[in-house]
Symmetry: C2
Subunit: 314 residues, 2 copies
DNA sequence: CTCATTTTTTGTCCTAGACAAAACAACCGT
DNA sequence: ACGGTTGTTTTGTCTAGGACAAAAAATGAG
């Protein structure tokens, strides 16, 4: 009953379900784009089922990125890949004009990564960590690297498995360091913070960076890991009497759903429990419901904690 | 264009997309079951869209578990929840008859978890780790606890966010310990192992346990984290010249797709690169393609490594 | 009891159409 | 020139009903 492998399972062809997994675009969207814009234009296999060549999948990935950045499908689906690339180039430049200065320094990491010198890569990370200290490491190295690697992947410069290697190694370094931090003693430490991502957002690295900074500022952190359903986030926050719930939204998450998710969560959580949402998701830059603090930059966290403490000081 | 929150967004009702996220059952399946078996029987909102009450969602979750265990939809969708529960009871008992003896000991952990005494929980884990040593900790505590927690969740005994807490804490303990293990020196260490899960399998904890055991046996491990697409697994294995690719399949993963995935991977990977697949997924117990080693129990790993070394010794 | 063959079950894909919310454009009054 | 109200277009998600191959179960023959 599984429809997939007809026989000639050319590894450069994907079924519609495969494309959904790879691009995050639903089957319905793929079909309706095909009808409306004439793209994608999959071939058909023996049964008449859609079969997508890899280059179209690549284009779809790119399209999704651009749409999340705020461009509209109708305007860009017809464009050739070369133009899409230059559009994306421009968009990323606009979004983070500041990090141009550190880029040559970070480029070295990318090269280690794409030549698969993993051990050297890890050592380079650790060296930076030692030299800069944990806070500056997170702010100046880890966070920019994440966006850089994400962009490089969207542009096709690096492979997805190389991004996975990157995430894994960075996770190791951060988790290792985090563990050696003294945990604040039980009741006294405030704010009490709950960290997680919502269902549909599998990336936990942003969470880990946030947790690192929070722990450095001696907050009482509890992470639920990625993909907690909304109802369970609320239950956990209440059980833990959390002061703040921190959510991370990566560029992968559907930007149009961010608003709806935050609104629902705001209504599920107790009023005195704050929501801080951060990450590289373009949806965060649009209007968001009141009662939710949007933090586009990790830098803002330290100040925000100080502000919270001042507010709750008597 | 987002259809979801019509207005009266009763938090005990879910749209069809929400049910898909929560249960892992696709929209098509939900609709076709409704037509064929009369269940689920969602209400309709103002637009005529399906709206699922929570109790039906719970039943659907349970149904999925039972179907993965090998039961057939047509036989069980009509049954009331109580009967489904007793069926599941019996199935889990049959599957792991051995771990009954350790259960009272593990029960203590479950209680700490469901009363949210996280710090005590972590300390209890660490205490066991110290007492038993890493290998026995993984085999006798961590692995059985994972299945126990998974079952408790399916049965409704614990909340999902409590399972998340569990996973997170166990991950911390294991990663922390793993890091302090001496890494085998570059070229000499064999086998070279690549660990990951395929797209659609988000659970990485089994991977971590496997990696722990492999590292204890001084293999050269590289983890890609969860959800690497098949093509990228192959690329990474080739780039790394991996001797073994280890894949983990949890009960969450669709049991019927395991075979197809393994077949495709087998054809993508070089012949001299072995595939070891493990985890609690019922699909692994069915017939699997040749050229793939199925390991139902973590215990088998050490012996398998020894066997591999003997085979490649000259 | 084993193996090959038919029948039933079941998941996924197909087409074609509907519609509300989001995004955009046009307008107006200050 | 700018903020708010209106109307129009775009776009994602849902609906319906039908088709079909692969898996599983049932059947039959040796």
């Amino acid at each position: 009953m599984v429809r997939s492998p007809v026989m000639a399972d050319d590894s450069r062809l994907l079924s519609i379900a495969g494309v959904e997994r790879e691009t995050g675009l639903g089957k319905d969207v793929l079909r309706v784009w095909e009808k409306r814009y004439g793209f994608p234009a999959p071939e058909r296999d023996v049964h008449g089922d859609r079969v997508y060549p890899m280059d179209q999948v690549d284009k779809l990935r790119l399209l999704r990125r651009l749409i999340d950045d705020g461009l509209r499908p109708g305007k860009i689906v017809g464009l050739p890949i070369s133009e899409l690339l230059s559009l994306h180039e421009r968009a990323t430049r606009n979004a983070s004009p500041a990090h141009g200065c550190t880029e040559p320094e970070l480029q070295e990491f990318i090269e280690l990564l794409s030549s698969h010198r993993i051990d050297e890569f890890r050592l380079a990370l650790l060296a930076r960590l030692m030299r800069l200290g944990l806070e500056r490491f997170v702010l100046d190295i880890a966070a920019p690297l994440c966006t850089l690697v994400g962009d490089a992947w969207a542009r096709g410069t690096i492979q997805l498995f190389e991004e996975h290697m990157f995430t894994e190694e960075l996770t190791r370094v951060l988790r290792g360091t985090l563990q050696s931090l003294a945990r604040p003693s039980g009741d006294s430490a405030r704010p009490r913070v709950l960290l997680t991502t919502v269902s549909g957002e599998p990336h936990a690295i942003g969470l880990l960076m946030a947790e690192t900074l929070m722990s450095l500022n001696s907050c009482d952190c509890l992470s639920l890991g990625p993909q907690t359903p909304e109802g369970d986030i609320a239950q956990a926050a209440i059980a833990r009497q959390a002061d703040i719930v921190i959510l991370s939204f990566s560029a992968w998450f559907n930007a149009q759903q961010v608003g709806a998710v935050l609104t629902r969560l705001r209504s599920l959580l107790p009023a005195q429990c704050e929501i801080w949402a951060g990450g590289r998701n373009p949806g965060l830059q649009r209007d968001q419901p009141s009662g939710v603090t949007i933090m586009t930059e990790l830098r803002e966290i330290s100040a925000a904690i100080t502000a919270w403490r001042r507010r709750h000081d008597r």
